[in-house]
Symmetry: C2
Subunit: 766 residues, 2 copies
């Protein structure tokens, strides 16, 4: 069993030699954890990612001339430059989307109001046509050009960052489809938001920057080639997600926390810092761009657009008895959120399995119908609503009622018989979502809305949001969630004002808490959502209340079903590992998770034909490689990945005639750095793409240079809960199960890992 001196160690030495001085070594030390974490999943068109150690060694061979500190320095510099670019790119995209949406909406409402003076019907036709046209453009782009741009994109990104790759989500066309599609769908007045799509946009930008542009206009610079590996790419995408949130909500800290809490399943402090930087850049970018717009350069884009709803004028104080209605908000949020998740899940499931299988035409017709219904409701229902007299201008001198046209604000005059009246339903329904939320959050406007109007709006908008999500347009759930929550929040606020009859209770504050509660009940995020809510309302004083409401709504919602993104991921067959393993796992051991079929392993030098037939017959993505030692015993020399085998088989450079192990340096220069890199978001190579002649099938292949020499191992009787945590915390995709060991060479403790202890033991001078 003396493996160290046997041939089995060659692989290790070779790999160690290569990894040590490799140009990518800066983060490699800190991030080896991430090098193996792409889950191998056959069910959901998963492409196996690249083993980091192999790419590292290949990179070394390819770029041997460049090494040392200079190399390392440029790698680090580039890493930060990329973060900068991601920030700038995402900030600009967010800005572009906002300007476009605001302008389209502005023109729409301007035209509608102008024509309505002559005829309501003509006004409606113009309004509906405008909406349908925008929505049609969106769905057309998405269905015919960028199918992966439909939906929110966050479930897919969550999958990607946990190792499960959905084809197409990070392509250039997806980026374009997402940006243009959200402009159409949001501008077209559908009950959805642009925030989820912006997160996806950020991720696409990050991925494209990492590969030097679209695959067609490949910048094959050696600098960018360094980032052609899964770990760096994923780090960039994490930055992109944070940048997206940061841009969508102008919430840089919220973005960082979102990336950590929601999309990744582990915590790496080095990455944290870079994510943080990207977020800050986005915030600066957006701010600069908006500053440029204040001089009227951006048409209708003005105080609206970016969702910042300043509630600093609201409630400054709260009493203990107010905690009860706030807790009630939490409960309502949990219930309605869970209901929303369930309904959208069922509807999405129906769409995926039945409706959308009938082709693109059905998808287009569906969205256009939804758009028509939305237009009818948002135009028609306010028409049926009775106008309210404006509040007494003597008592409330600050309130402008009705508001002058083309000004943002409350108290809109819509189909009212008198000039001193306003239509409260039109204020929220016949408006852009951002402005509607601003009006719902508005403070010091006591009794602006009637309970009947709010209830009507709540029911109808809940219905619209439910049927809209899952259609083939880019769609975010934040803004609809905030709308729904703010509506019942304001209702509860009215109740509290009437009940307690005390000064200082503001309906707008309750609307804000309601919004938090619905998002908490639906998305089940905690810290990040809380910070985002604080950042978008720019009001830190409400933080403890938001926390309270979120705690309750999440707990209530969790009693019913999974979070929104988890359900959608489940629907898309993305195997996300929950943060908390199921209880029954504790009854099982690692052995129990193995398939009943015997493990398929390769001998170190295998016949090409037998490799091909194994790859054809089983769908595994990782294969142990076993070596026969001199003394007749066997030793596992590592794990080889299907994707790497396919590359080696296709290249054919390493085929040899005899079954003797090859020489160590023989693979040098046979592969270029990008050979082993999995393409971004595609199915990758299949064994059926590899064509081999009968002669080649009879040749041999020494697998040793291609193995990961030290995969994580667990003993067969380790509890599955422990295995589960190993997967999640280290981000693994494969763990090898070994028999219960017959002996232990030693026990490592924390102290043994301290630099001074190791150095003193090794007598190393480094």
């Amino acid at each position: 069993m003396d493996v160290e001196s046997g041939e089995g160690a060659t692989g290790l030495m070779w790999s160690r030699l290569l990894t040590t001085d490799s140009p990518l070594s800066d983060d490699a030390a800190g991030a080896v954890a991430a090098d193996e974490w792409n889950a191998a999943n056959e069910a959901s068109s998963v492409v196996e990612s690249l083993d980091y150690e192999v790419i590292e060694s290949v990179a070394y061979r390819d770029d041997q001339a460049m090494k040392g500190w200079w190399q390392l320095g440029s790698y680090v510099t580039l890493k930060w430059l990329f973060a900068l670019f991601i920030g700038v790119g995402t900030g600009l995209s967010a800005f572009a989307i906002n300007v476009a949406v605001e302008n389209f909406s502005g023109w729409k409402f301007l035209a509608t109001f102008a024509i309505m003076r002559h005829s309501y019907l003509a006004g409606f036709v113009i309004y509906a046509l405008f909406n349908v046209a925008l929505v049609f453009s969106s769905v057309y782009i998405v269905t015919s050009f960028a199918p992966a741009a439909a939906g929110s994109g966050i479930p897919e990104l969550k999958g990607y960052l946990n190792g499960i790759d959905t084809p197409g989500i990070l392509l250039f066309r997806t980026l374009v489809g997402k940006i243009l599609g959200s402009i159409g769908s949001v501008g077209g007045g559908l009950a959805l938001g642009k925030e989820g799509p912006l997160v996806h946009t950020g991720a696409c930008i990050a991925s494209l920057i990492g590969q030097g542009g679209s695959t067609k206009y490949y910048l094959n610079s050696r600098w960018i080639r360094m980032f052609k590996n899964d770990r760096d790419r994923r780090d960039l995408v994490t930055c992109g997600c944070a940048a997206g949130v940061s841009a969508a909500f102008r919430a840089p800290v919220g973005g960082v926390l979102f990336a950590l809490e929601e999309v990744t399943s582990w915590w790496r402090s080095q990455l944290l810092w870079r994510v943080f930087f990207t977020s800050a850049i986005v915030a600066v970018m957006v701010r600069t761009a908006m500053g440029w717009c204040t001089h009227g350069n951006c048409g209708h884009f003005g105080s609206g657009g970016f969702i910042i709803w300043d509630t600093s004028g609201g409630q400054e104080d709260y009493s203990f008895y107010e905690l009860w209605p706030m807790a009630l908000l939490g409960v309502i949020g949990g219930l309605l959120g869970a209901l929303f998740n369930q309904l959208t899940y069922m509807l999405s499931s129906y769409r995926r399995n039945v409706l959308h299988k009938r082709g693109n035409r059905v998808k287009i017709i569906e969205v256009c119908l939804v758009s028509l219904i939305t237009s009818m409701l948002s135009f028609g229902i306010p028409l049926l609503n009775k106008c309210t007299p404006c509040p007494d201008p003597v008592k409330y001198p600050d309130i402008v009622c009705p508001r002058p046209q083309q000004h943002y604000g409350n108290y809109v005059l819509f189909n009212c018989p008198k000039d001193s009246q306003y239509n409260d339903l039109a204020t929220i329904f016949f408006n852009t979502p951002d402005d509607a939320i601003r009006n719902l959050f508005s403070t010091k406007t006591v009794h602006e809305y009637s309970a009947r109007s709010l209830l009507t709006f709540l029911a109808l908008f809940f219905f619209l949001a439910t049927i809209t999500y899952g259609t083939a347009v880019p769609a975010g759930q934040f803004v609809p969630g905030i709308m729904i929550g703010a509506t019942y929040g304001r209702l509860v606020g009215m109740l509290v004002v009437n009940l307690y009859k005390k000064d200082g209770i503001d309906e707008g504050t309750y609307a804000l808490l309601g919004a938090a509660s619905f998002l908490g009940g639906s998305m089940r995020m905690t810290v990040s959502l809380c910070v985002i809510m604080v950042e978008i309302t720019n009001n830190l004083q409400l933080l403890p209340l938001i926390m309270l409401v979120l705690l309750i709504s999440k707990a209530v919602g969790d009693a019913f079903n999974m979070g929104f993104y988890e359900q959608q991921a489940y629907l898309r067959q993305i195997p996300l590992l929950e943060s908390r393993p199921k209880r029954f796992l504790r009854k099982l051991s690692a052995k129990d998770a193995l398939h009943t079929s015997k493990v398929v392993s390769f001998p170190r030098v295998s016949k090409v034909g037998s490799i091909v037939s194994v790859l054809r017959s089983v769908s595994h993505n990782g294969f142990p490689v076993i070596e026969q030692l001199q003394n007749g015993e066997t030793a596992v020399i590592g794990l080889v990945l299907r994707s790497h085998l396919l590359v080696v088989l296709q290249t054919k450079a390493d085929f040899q005639h005899g079954p003797t192990p090859g020489h160590e340096n023989r693979t040098k220069n046979k592969y270029s750095v990008t050979d082993f890199v999995k393409p971004v978001s595609s199915k990758g190579l299949s064994i059926f793409d590899v064509n081999l002649t009968a002669v080649e099938m009879e040749m041999y292949l020494d697998l040793q240079p291609f193995v990961n020499p030290s995969p994580y191992i667990v003993s067969e009787d380790m509890s599955l809960t422990k295995v589960y945590n190993l997967f999640r915390q280290l981000g693994l995709r494969h763990v090898c199960v070994v028999p219960r060991p017959s002996r232990i060479l030693g026990v490592i403790t924390r102290k043994d890992l301290l630099p001074e202890v190791i150095l003193s033991m090794q007598y190393l001078t480094l």
Copy 2:
């Protein structure tokens, strides 16, 4: 090698049987990762913590009557109730400390000012006496009663939460010493803060609540016994740390992030949620208590006290050219922070190794001397300062100059010849730190300070802060750091105002950024510090700027030395694992970290005498247990901990006469739940405490019931970087190194861990 059917499996089955229906099972599933994470460290008086699986099984045996959902429910309820109590307790302590400090300071300044009208010398004597008396009370309490209460406590907590236990840090006496000590040291005007000690206070409260009060007044309820294990205790302490930050800065989100980023080394989303809740409770508590004080119930405690420095009146906009001076602030912060770390490290090292070894009297004299120097400087230097004429009341109608006595604010009249003058050095020097910072941050007070005054203050206060830290009183570094940073920040701000001569540049904003830069350069925290800065200044608009400054100052500081807490932990020989493993680890494999001496393992049934002699001769904390199988081969049945062996040896209940393995159920009811629990913060049992007769030494012990049957294993040739990450991410304390496996039973992928996949494979109905 068919271990499953051999006797080796018994241990596993037994343990599995026990753990499955255990009353503590709620979090057990999610947190098995944490069950092994106390580092075994002999160098720093480390007490080995309890293996979670054993405590679980013991708890089961002890409380067999109570199980099922009701049991689980009460455990969860209690967990949240404890979080509530921690929040309330920490909030109240923070409030008490603040009220006491503000009142002591108020009386001190009142008396000094009153006497100064007659004689400056008498005023100084009163001032210095007041200070020395308070400081003496603090150091006396600490040295004679609670030595662990000295210093900030954060390095020790970091160690504790990473598995290294410093004796005494979580005792009741430490709590009392910390609270009373900080009142004395902060009230006595030393150059230190109460924020670090508050974090420690929160942690002590959490630990005490978890064990049902002080060890003397032990509440031996079965409810609280559930929490008598390392994992739950550590979770509570994490909540306590977050509560401390939340109370110290009124920064609930900052508290959560601090607990995650700074004190723990891993990320667990279940705990996150509870930490969040605790933080929110603290915020509500502090707010309520402060509200109660507004009616004059709290003496001098008013708008001062809790450090909230509202800078919302400050700069709202910034231009690109301002980014340069801000970057300069970052560089200065990095340099000064690194210098501060280095000086305090050297001074602390001298104190630890030389000065403080001479006994308590030296410690007391030292602190009193420091207090005298502080009094002399803070009283004398402003006296030497020339007064400045008040700003033109016509041009600045908002400025009250000089301020009325006993009002907080700027422009203090101190030793000025005319009544329309103020003494700018006295404003910051002869004041409580909180008020001084408020004055440094104050906005719209252009040119309040002269550059000379600021430079004088900077140099002197830097000197005072350096000599003060490390003395035997509770001492936090936040407030001194903010003072230093704000001073040079304001200096740079003055420079910018003079250079750019543009409206809207506010010196107070630069002071705030300076404070962030110094803290970043010294403590090297990132996200949490940023959020804390935003929360204490209640100004979200500066967030991107704070981020920028922190990025630069941390990078500059990192170029020189470790962070403040890491250095202090290093000094205390607490082996913290850095987040990024050293590069040279990649050249080494697991084998290289093993001690050259052979591993010491026990046979399953060992002679008591041989166990004792092994425990006496080696200092290891974990021992593999090997079983001889029927077929002559050996199998490792698990790892047994020194601390458990000691308990078993002391109890003697399991000694048997022959070397045959015992029956499975034989250990039932022999141990109570608390037997295996390590006492909070003490050295624990030593092998020399165990007295055995010669007859007992000849008896046998079956170790199988006491082993952890599935420790984490790594192959001998796994890279040490990977091992390092395993330790950090899973929070382990032991990893067993096994020979390269000879075969692999199978490969587990993520998909295999999905509940539906496992269930379909197992045909289980759960």
